[in-house]
Symmetry: C2
Subunit: 417 residues, 2 copies
């Protein structure tokens, strides 16, 4: 039997037992996991040192090395995140709806764990602990499959977490990491229909595409964000500048950062130059259409191509287009956007309402930065990712996104006539 | 451009406009659709007559012919179903959660249509009108792909409904049926990622398997039901008999009918024979394990094989197995069941609680027939199908299952620090 199938099979068995653990048991396990990360940090740091060494041999870039590196301070932060999960309210067991049917059956729709959650990710080793913690909190077994660069760190973290969870009374096999980092192992995981209840890919567009193409298990797509800021003719110019610069520059590498600036033609000659200059000052390269370039406001500008409208730069780059008005802006966003986060800057009531209603995205904003699309900012307490699909969960996914429901019916001999 | 892509593209455009129609507009369209079905029934009945003729040439069986046949009474019933949809509460626009964030942003999570719903089905032509009605009620555009036997009827019904909807002010292209009934057309529909927002297959296990294997669009699996009735040693024998006979015989061809009877060894010699005799009297063939056969209670019995435990007969057949007790019953159900509807008959409190907690299914019952798993019985008002997956919707799916949500954020210049 392959490693993937074996781990998933054990996770499936564990899920049955996990579903019947109490809130207190799972919270105690989270605290034990948090404690173990720190008390056994030496083995994690040793494994991480091996990953770092291998990455250096491969001439990995500095920013990737920084993401990969663990140290006692970072381990402490990961441990604290697990502790804070333990004090969040437990969604499991919540009665979502209920009542007595006409025939006397007492029917309740109850929130229960999904079962086995698989997560394929490319990011930093802290995702390993975060994802395991979120799944244990919600009573799910988890099969993790991280990127090859962090494989030793991920396996060490998983080993420590799994031992702590089992030590705290949770079933064997409830947390597992796939050690094989080849493509076949990932594809096998995507195709374990009937074993994996949901697969959440966390990574770049290539990973998401591969999952959509290959998966037979239910998937929640996350993360791609080609977000727009549209400056309407009635916008407060200072507010527009602040929001554009924040949405682009505050953290350019994340999915809720802005990638395209749209601005109304009637005001672009006056309002756009200061915005472009502020972006230039922040180090942003502007991929500009003809009308923007004709302003000659800045140096750091390149001609925009059709491709730019669909590009998620995740970098200090932005596309800029002058539009005729609200209709063109909405049509452009609904054509090129990835339905993640979209904002209008306007002082006109009816433009705001139309934008909120007609733009199809997980989060739509009036007069605020797209950067707020985040589980923490939205008050969800924790976040497993940002769903860009419409099924099951949309936008930032908190603990409830890792649950499903079950109808519980208590009768007294009812039969259907 | 292929027919499928063209219809789906038109549906996608229609969905944008549909999402911004009012409840009143959509309800008026439903009434217009209901009216048109009756006023234009001649063309529908003519198309149906062509389907019936072609089916007879193919030597189609009597029960399938009966499902296919339309007549004025049946059209009237379909029309009435659309009318009753028009008076149900509209889920669109509901504020699911909301409030003012710490930074002053007013955030609301609002229920919105999913967008473009595709439905692949094998069943009677009434599904065409039902599915179209449910989608229009919830502001979704719909692309239908029915079975080849009913293709003329489906196209005629779609033509009438679409004309009525557009006549009532809904956008062109909001209701469409694919005329091509070959496999390629269905597979193309399954792979229109980014155009189709959800695909709901309604049909047998073969269809569901093909969709799971081929789809790149999000899918809601429906319908497969290998349901069990477990008679616990503390069961009231009369109640057990009534529930078993009802769950198996009241309508054997549906997904919530019972397919396996489990009974505790300690009582099987006394309690099982009357149940078997009642089943035999109702015309049921029993696929029985050795201990059941040893009772010699009935004539219509065949030896059960491993395959029987996993079979959804959808017929007057049932598998029967004597189990050691609650543990074996739960393990058997969690191994062979399809997580649809499962029932225990018991008078023992702790057995009931364990069954409800430990059996993993969309609906779990104590002392009631599995036949109640149904949108109408559960008070959902309408039903698009019964989900047997855990993502998005589980169990009977009402109008809310055809919606998603959108975060609407109203700010006053907030940026993220």
């Amino acid at each position: 039997m392959s490693e993937v199938r074996e781990l998933a099979g054990r996770a499936q068995k564990a899920a049955v037992a996990l579903a019947n653990t109490s809130t207190d048991q799972r919270n105690r396990a989270l605290l034990a996991m948090a404690h173990a990360l720190v008390s056994r940090q030496d083995e994690i740091l040793e494994a991480n040192a091996r990953d770092m060494e291998a990455a250096r041999v491969k001439n990995t870039g500095a920013s990737l090395l920084d993401r990969l590196e663990l140290n006692p301070m970072r381990i402490k932060a990961i441990s604290e995140a697990l502790k804070s999960l333990s004090v969040l309210p437990d969604p499991i067991g919540e009665v979502v709806s209920g009542g007595r049917l006409g025939n006397g059956i007492w029917l309740q729709q109850v929130r229960v764990p999904i079962g086995v959650v698989a997560i394929i990710y490319e990011a930093r080793p802290n995702v390993t602990a975060d994802a395991a913690g979120l799944c244990i909190k919600t009573g799910n077994a988890v099969v993790l499959r991280g990127g090859s660069l962090a494989v030793e760190s991920n396996l060490a973290i998983t080993k420590v977490l799994a031992a702590a969870a089992v030590g705290a009374g949770l079933p064997e096999g409830c947390i597992a990491s796939v050690s094989s980092t080849d493509r076949e192992a990932a594809e096998e995981l995507m195709r374990l229909h009937g074993v994996i209840d949901v697969l959440i890919p966390r990574g770049g567009a290539g990973l998401i595409r591969s999952v959509v193409e290959n998966a037979t298990v239910p998937v929640i797509e996350t993360g791609t964000g080609n977000c727009h800021i549209y400056v309407h003719e009635s916008a407060d110019p200072r507010m527009a500048e602040r929001i554009v610069v924040n949405a682009k520059c505050q953290r350019p590498g994340v999915c809720n950062a802005a990638e395209t600036l749209l601005i109304d033609e009637s005001i672009h000659e006056v309002v756009l130059p200061p915005i472009l200059r502020a972006l230039e000052q922040a180090g942003v390269t502007v991929h500009a259409d003809d009308k923007t370039r004709a302003l000659g406001a800045i140096m750091r500008v390149v001609p925009a191509t059709e491709e730019d409208w669909a590009t998620e730069y995740l970098d200090l780059q932005i596309a800029c287009k002058v539009v005729a008005g609200l209709d063109e802006a909405i049509a452009h966003i609904n054509t090129y956007g990835t339905k993640h986060s979209e904002a209008i800057v306007t002082e006109e009531y009816s433009a705001a309402v139309r934008f909120l209603n007609e733009v199809d995205a997980a989060a739509v904003y009036v007069n605020a930065s797209t950067r707020f699309t985040d589980g923490g900012e939205f008050g969800l307490g924790a976040e497993i990712g940002i769903s860009t699909q419409k099924l099951h969960a949309r936008g930032p996914m908190g603990l409830a996104a890792l649950t499903t429901t079950k109808y519980v019916a208590m009768g007294s001999g009812q039969i259907r006539e």
